[in-house]
Amino acid sequence: MLDFPTWKKFWLWGLTFVAVLAAMPSLFAAANVEWPEALPNPQVNLGLDLAGGSHILLEADPAEVAAQRLENMEETVRGEMRRAEPRIRIGDISTSGGALSFMLDTPADIDRARGLLEPVMMGTNLVREWDLTVVDGQRMVLTPTDDGVNQAVTDAMDSATEVVRKRIDGLGTREPTIIRQGDTRIVVQVPGLQDPDQLKELLGKTAKLEFKLVDLNALPTDVQAGIVPPGTQAFPYSDETPQAGQMVAVRRLGGIRGDSLTNAQAGVNPQNNENVVNIQFDQQGASKFCTLSTENVDRPFAIILDEKVISAPNFNEPICGGSAQISGTFTAQSAADLAIALNSGALPVELTVIEERTVSAELGADSIRKGLLAMLIGSIAVVALMIATYGRFGIYATIALVFNVLIILGIMAGLNTTLTLPGIAGFVITVGAAVDANVLINERIREERKRGRRVVAAVENGYKEASRAIYDANITNFIAGVLLFLFGSGPVRGFAVVLVVGLFTSVFTALVLTRMWVAGWLRAKRPNDINV
């Protein structure tokens, strides 16, 4: 047990040296000293509870994705049937019960219809996304498959994540972390963000912009009651407009969607000083808008954002330049937000904030200061107790403890893990518990001496007999720590990380390093008696 050949010593010191070196950049950062840029710079990340910032968990409703998909399928089916040569006439389209069903006017068209729909029902990944059944020889029913729905949700979440990233970049915040979590969730972490209200506002908007013709044939009283003729939809005015509370009837089809925009910018209309958003259509959108405005001069159209009407102006003249201006009752802030939202594209699905945690930078800094001070005082007390109780062996334990803390930091930096506030508590507990190994060893050496063993044999036996309990205790603690990491969430995981890393390093420093030092001392001095 006390035999340390040179190669072994070399290895142990080397290992310690590398780990301590890895801790240096983090210590330099903590002391506000610049770390040379030319050197590798592994850092312990500070959790949001220490650095300050916002953590937001967003969730999408998969049912909404499914509904949206059904609606898109309806448009696709209408288009395919209309474009067929000769045209296939259909009617009685319904999307109730999660499936799309329609009647063929002529049952003989059934094979042609099936042939047209077959490629549509197969997804891009050779996965069948829809099942087709024919009822009574004349009604076709398209039912989404589970694979199809899952694929749609995955796609929607992928593009939603991208949209979220663009929107947060648009705010100009630094180093946001945006991660997909599970099937329907996105985690957003923005360090340094004090006031997440604007961010939440921005992410809460789907930013689905639509231009639709106002249906002038619908009876105004019916529209207010929400009753509209077929092919027409009613939308309420947005709460910010003077017409809030009223409804507008628009034609369901034949409008233009916001996804044909190339650019949006907040601005001010020089004539009336109103805040506006200037938008630029892509080529296809520009020509559609040109046709729409030319055919409907002097008729009103509605600008609809997220199912709310912002305004319903008239086409005064054909607009063919590809650009347009949205005015409503914007503030400078809301116009800027809308521009960011439109530029990032519409969210394919509405996202709801289901968890939010924000800590101010002041509170974070205060936590670090108080936590480190408490840790320093605690460590001094532990060291004093160890040296007073075990003398020279206590000093070895103390040096091991210093290395222990440095190595934990080094490993955490190397693994790029995050230090959180509970993680600081984890450090304190590790400091308090790491010496347990030395206590066990030293108490055992005392016992062995009392039983009359000679110095070397007592030390050797002390390490040997104590190590069994040390390993067992650390392994069980390891099990508890790993389970905490698996089931825990957020900052609590930071606690588990420090505890688990600390278990390995404690065994290394308290059991291996001290043994090397004690062995070196015994070999050099050959004492007849030890004070322990």
Binding site: L57, E59, D61, Q194, P196, K200, T352, V353, I354, R357, T358, S360, E362, D366, S367, K370, G371, M375, G378, S379, A381, V382, L385, A388, T389, Y390, G391, L421, P422, I424, A425, V428, I429, G432, A433, V435, D436, V439, L440, E443, R446, E447, E465, A469, D472, A473, I475, T476, N477, I479, L483, L484, F487, G488, S489, P491, V492, F495, L499, N531
Partner: protein, 325 residues
């Protein structure tokens, strides 16, 4: 240099003489803890109950207007808010529970949270927002489930490990001691109505780890002594083992305590619950290792033969054939 000896040499306290009264006391303690949990209930924080907790500092005031805040936020009609001083006299934490019936609305917690913050900032413009936790009913439900799973899995996994490393009686003893520790900790939270958050789950797992550490040290010594003193009666042997490891038990508890106390007294307010729970657990865990984990072995029928490999019939016959027995 004269070294400190916390436990005098040759200490021989008859811990196990009082094992029956202490065991009954422990059982009563467990029963009382669970009764408290069911009658008083656990004061769940936003992590587990859902809702919103906001921490504010009234920068220009010496004292936070706690009663006014209570009335103001209570007036919103979302139930009684919990308004407490948080770390400093002019800092508060305001907790608004999720009203009944909105557990399934994912956006409800955020909406209520925004309303509370807007109102307070409207009334006190110089207030500084230090932090904000908003948890929807759905996420809170997941946290509850994960917490229960984590605790159960941890207890079973470590008991299983001890069973494998020692004997089944030791596994049962350790599991029982852990059950005691977790129960009493929960009971304390129910009694004092301390806020029960995700951090407390971390604390309980740390307590499990610590208590087990103690149990293992005692068990390891019992195993060693069982092999060494084959004829010693078990209660006496357990007493010997506990006494032999007593110096270590006291010293380790003390080092952990002196490390924790500064954190408890001057550490960040957000860590108080976690550190307080672990500090209490330190005592509970040490007690259970001596008074529950050890005596259980007597009743479970551990003998000095428990660690002697059992001979199979064939081996026995071989021995007889060789004339050794």
């Amino acid at each position: 240099m004269k070294l400190l000896k916390l436990v005098p040499e040759d200490t021989n306290i008859k811990f196990l003489r009082l094992r029956v009264p202490f065991f009954i006391f422990s059982l009563l303690l467990i029963a009382a803890s669970w009764a408290l949990v069911f009658i008083n209930g656990i004061n769940y924080g936003v992590d587990f109950a859902g809702g919103q907790e906001v921490r504010l500092t009234f920068v220009e005031q010496d004292q936070a207007p706690v009663p006014e805040l209570r009335e103001m936020v209570g007036g919103l009609g979302y139930g009684t808010p919990v308004v407490q001083e948080f770390g400093a006299p002019n800092a508060v934490s305001i907790r608004v529970p999720l009203p009944d019936g909105v557990e399934d609305q994912p956006g409800a917690a955020t909406a209520i949270g925004n309303e509370v913050i807007e109102m307070i900032e409207g009334e006190y413009p110089q207030v500084r927002r230090d932090g904000n936790d908003t948890v929807s009913g759905k996420v809170a439900g997941e946290f509850r489930q994960d917490a229960v799973l984590a605790l159960l899995a941890a207890m079973l996994a470590v008991a299983l490990y001890i069973w494998v490393r020692f004997e089944w009686q030791f596994g049962v003893g350790a599991l029982f001691a852990l059950f005691h520790d977790v129960s009493v900790t929960l009971g304390m939270f129910a009694l004092f109505q301390l806020e029960f958050s995700l951090q407390i789950i971390a604390a309980i797992l740390a307590i499990i780890g610590y208590s087990l550490n103690d149990t293992i040290v005692v068990y390891d010594r019992i195993r060693e002594n069982l092999k060494k003193y084959r004829k010693m009666p078990l209660p006496e042997l357990l007493d010997l083992s506990v006494n032999e490891t007593l110096a270590r038990t006291v010293m380790t508890s003390l080092t952990l305590l002196v490390a924790l106390v500064p954190l408890l007294l001057i550490g960040p307010a957000s860590l108080f619950g976690l550190v307080a729970a672990i500090t209490a657990g330190l005592f509970i865990g040490t007690y259970s290792s001596v008074y529950l984990a050890a005596p259980v072995l007597i009743w479970m029928g551990v003998t000095s033969n428990s660690f002697v490999p059992q001979e199979t019939k064939e081996e026995r016959q071989e021995k007889i054939a060789r004339g050794e027995a």
